[in-house]
């Protein structure tokens, strides 16, 4: 593949962006006087800032590249990752869970588990989360450096080092606030940078109608314009049941409601009302993001179907390399100038993914591992220093994991799999913990363990169609069921893991003694906590009103693009 032709104007845009990112870190340096300012942004940020950071932290490498790829492979059905797979979970987090996270004064998700359950549940969550975030950050770095190497012919090691250093400098200087402020900047850059691509691409294929006509030209892409209509047990996304319960309930709630990476953004808000509005403000742009990230994939297929000579998609194995949809569209449509802007947006998405993981790792490591198990009872200054050093160590370990990813592709698949096994049961523990005071620490911990092991077992006895490696499933040697795709398999593994975890938590809780008294659980469990009184001045500022509005727009969008 011949690379992009960049000129001085593209390089200027990239350099200006870098200097602003570093400048924000520099400007925040003087506020980093204590551990709370560095690791929790001093709990002082306005709701619109944390709201945009909330979705921007998730709008990393995998999102932009992966959703465009998925749009090219499965069409508009990919929106299920947004409209059913994110919005309901974000509403639930805002209305029902945020009062406990924010109100309990816990500084992290693992710390909430410690307050509500016990030490071992916190330890399990803290360690698995720390490993997961550091690997996620490494994967982001690896993907960015690989892309720069393929597209621009830049040296892999240099790209890796430069992007890692920039993230390191701005998170070291300004901590979580710096990461959050930069995520807001990156959010606008990603939207503004990709918009010209989508607009010109849509004009080229003849608008929505024209695109549908071109998609219908090929059997493979027929029905790509529908989100729900084509769903059946044979569809790669799986059945209605798999999408509703597997993706929409277990996986979505497990991610958006318990993953500290995103929850941390809401916890940095300045008030309870702002913390509850954070996911709702994020939900508003979130439901329109498919038009920015999924549509390019569909445009690419429409172009291929209609034989556009200037557009090619490189091959990989027996099919197209769908991960290159966005880069190849940038190359096809954008002249120098906006091309630099688009590339900068792409880099910004990788960096926000990296920085988000580094700052979340920082907080969990410093508070939940270092302060809890290694060196407790030191001064605040000491933990501030540890937080800063952890930033350096975190980035350094991420670089190492990036090289691990480069060496062993399967190692990455394998790790992601293990984390998927851990995440689905986690939501069961939270649900039971927050809404039932009878749930015990033993119940939650062994519920988690049994859910995770059952997930591994289901994975061992099933396979996606066309599986070639044991990482994809069937490692027991006996395959009892074959799913139409890896996605459908994931949805069902999540359903099983969640149900088993839920049942096990209930049974073990009933069999074990409650250790925490009602007084200790005030602010942590629904029935023992006074209802939050929202202090918003006007009705349209209330989280509940926002939640209804966001839900209504999502339903309308689903009907329009049925």
């Amino acid at each position: 593949m011949n690379s992009f032709n960049l000129t001085w104007i593209d390089y200027s845009i990239i350099l200006i962006y870098f200097s602003f990112v570093l400048g924000i870190g520099w400007a925040l340096k003087k506020y980093m006087k204590n551990a709370s300012a560095f690791l929790e942004a001093g709990r002082s940020l306005p709701a619109w800032v944390t709201g945009l950071a909330f979705i921007s932290a998730n709008l990393g490498a995998l999102e932009v590249i992966g959703m465009a790829a998925s749009g090219a492979k499965y069409g508009l059905a990919t929106v299920h990752f947004y409209w059913i797979g994110a919005i309901p979970a974000m509403i639930f987090l805002a209305i029902f869970m945020m009062p406990f996270y924010y109100g309990s004064k816990a500084r992290s998700v693992p710390e909430y588990l410690k307050l509500r359950f016990d030490e071992k549940t916190r330890g399990f969550n803290a360690f698995s989360f720390a490993v997961m975030t550091i690997f996620a950050s490494g994967i982001s770095m690896y993907a960015l450096a690989l892309l720069m190497e393929t597209l621009l012919g830049w040296n892999f090691h240099m790209s890796l080092l430069i992007s890692a250093s920039i993230v390191l400098v701005y998170t070291y200087l300004g901590g979580l606030s710096s990461a959050i402020y930069n995520e807001v900047l990156q959010f606008f850059l990603i939207v503004i940078g990709f918009l010209p691509l989508v607009i010109i691409g849509m004009m080229k294929v003849g608008g929505w109608e024209g695109m549908v006509d071109k998609l219908e030209m090929n059997v493979m892409s027929q029905g790509f314009q529908h989100s729900w209509k084509t769903i059946s047990p044979e569809h790669p996304m799986g059945s209605w049941m798999g999408i509703f319960f597997g993706l929409g309930f277990v996986l979505a709630f497990g991610y958006w409601c318990t993953n500290f990476l995103v929850v941390q953004r809401a916890m940095a808000a300045g008030s309870m009302s702002a913390a509850r509005k954070t996911p709702l403000i994020g939900a508003l742009p979130k439901m329109f993001l498919p038009f920015l990230v999924i549509l390019p994939g569909m445009i690419a297929i429409a172009l291929l179907n209609s034989g556009d000579e200037a557009f090619t998609l490189p091959l990989k194995g027996t099919g197209y390399d769908y991960d290159l949809v966005i880069p190849m569209l940038l190359k096809r449509f954008l002249p120098t100038g906006v091309l630099g802007l688009g590339l900068t947006a792409l880099m910004a998405s990788f960096m926000s993914g990296m920085a988000g993981n580094v700052t979340a790792f920082n907080t969990v490591w410093t508070y939940d591992i270092y302060q809890s198990y290694i060196v407790p009872g030191k001064s605040d200054k000491h933990y501030l220093r540890v937080g800063q050093i952890t930033t350096i160590v975190g980035v350094a370990v991420s670089i190492l994991t990036a090289y691990v990813a480069k060496q062993f592709n399967n190692v990455m698949d394998f790790l992601q799999l293990i984390f998927a096994f851990i995440n689905a049961p986690l939501f069961a523990a939270f649900l039971m913990g927050m809404f039932n005071k009878r749930t015990t620490g033993h119940g939650a911990f062994f519920g988690l363990l049994s859910g995770t092991s059952c997930a591994a077992l289901v994975h061992g006895f099933t396979q996606p169609a066309g599986a070639t490696s044991l990482v994809k499933g069937g490692w027991t040697g006996t395959v009892l069921h074959t799913f139409p795709s890896e996605m459908a398999q994931n949805f069902w593994i999540a359903i099983v893991a969640f149900s088993i975890a839920l049942i096990a938590t209930i049974i073990i809780s009933l069999l074990t003694k409650r250790r925490k008294t009602d007084e200790e659980l005030v602010g942590l469990v629904y029935s023992l906590t006074p209802k939050v009184v929202d202090d918003s001045k006007y009705w349209y500022q209330k989280p509940v009103v926002w939640a209804i509005g966001v839900g209504a727009i999502t339903i309308i969008l689903s009907i329009i693009y049925w």
Binding site: I13, I16, G23, I24, G42, L185, I192, P196, I200, G337
Partner: protein
């Protein structure tokens, strides 16, 4: 946290806006716009970013005035 993020966002997009508007004007009939369906996309993006950038700077100015 003492920094108003609207300020750097406004400043960055104003700079991008000026840069691309000027570049778009100076390359008005360049053949490179064949790729973008003969639309001077640099000029249009530049103008949009300039408007967004100035609006953000104005909002930051309003916030500062209110706080002091």
């Amino acid at each position: 946290m003492g920094l108003d993020i609207k300020l750097p966002i406004g400043a960055m997009f104003t700079i991008f806006g000026i840069l691309l508007t000027v570049f778009g004007l100076s390359t008005g009939d360049n053949e490179m716009y064949e790729a973008s369906l003969n639309i001077n996309i640099n000029l249009w993006s530049g103008i949009s970013m300039l408007i967004f950038g100035i609006a953000m700077l104005f909002a930051a100015y309003k916030t500062r005035k209110k706080d002091s």
